[in-house]
Symmetry: C2
Subunit: 176 residues, 2 copies
Amino acid sequence: MRYPAKETVAKHERIVKVASRLFRKRGFENVTVGEVMKAAGLTHGAFYAHFGTKQELQAAAVAYGQGVSIDRAKTHGATKMGRRSYADMYLNQGHRDTPGNGCTMAALGQEVARGTSELKAAFEQGLEEILSAGGGDRKDAIFQTAALLGGIVLARAVQNLQFSDEIPESVRQKLG
Amino acid sequence: MRYPAKETVAKHERIVKVASRLFRKRGFENVTVGEVMKAAGLTHGAFYAHFGTKQELQAAAVAYGQGVSIDRAKTHGATKMGRRSYADMYLNQGHRDTPGNGCTMAALGQEVARGTSELKAAFEQGLEEILSAGGGDRKDAIFQTAALLGGIVLARAVQNLQFSDEIPESVRQKLG
DNA sequence: TGTACATCAGTGAACGCGCGTTCACTGATGTAC
DNA sequence: TGTACATCAGTGAACGCGCGTTCACTGATGTAC
């Protein structure tokens, strides 16, 4: 049957949002199209009324996820909370332990690097906006972003809790 | 038929080495057991004479890759070339463009974070040795490793060449 | 030292499962008159 | 405003392919006597 056009837009957004969360949490390859659709409250067949391929969804999900990061960066930039508080927000246990709600670059950057041009474009455009959101020196922003991202990636890959805690802690200290 | 025991060890090592390269280049999920065995000069069925599962191979490959990184770090530590030259070696276009020969953590860290405990253990032990290989302050080593890793990950995920070149360049400068 | 035999790395066909994708069908929506 | 009909998001079964894994088999190696 035909469904209201208004709801269709909402469903489309729900698919992207839910996919973004699942992808960040478990990686592109470990999340099924069917799983995404189920989480969005639909059946898998309907997927192709919204996207041509799974790869298209990946790109849309990265664009969405980068959008979330841009908003966070802009909020911090506007409230002038400074770099220190941004690092504190980024480098904590909550972020480390719940990648599904966290930074897209820290969760999917390596997979994006091996992905399609479309995927990289979404990543790249997001990064560009994140870097300029802070407002300070561009090289500083790049350096800080790299250090924060690296800190989270390392902390997530280490299972010894003391060691894992030590990583964000050290990065925070040295970033000053 | 039965094969010489000596060659078997060499074959086993070849499988791990080749797997490590392929995994770093294309990710765990995008490399087939059959593909690894073919690259090692064997057929896929023989795989299970060497490993119980693909996951076991992943852990062995990460351990091997981390070993390569440890050797590099120790060499630099021994020759006292300093942090600057280490950063130069790590943050260049060659490393960015050939992940198969490069740092395991920068290529597979995010997948390791979602992987088995065995996989994380191999990663973690390698990181521990890399950190102490330099000999300097531990917090400095952690910070530097995070920044370098983040720089390579970002540079690889960005396709605009100017932008991509700008990232390692900035990290190198700011690491001083 | 020679002989008989058990071992087991390696081969290649086959299995079975899961996943991305397709397709015939549905029926309320939105449009044309 | 009412009526006829075309559209198309969504359903759920099915397809087909690729992958990890299994298995019967091979025959030179290594061992026991």
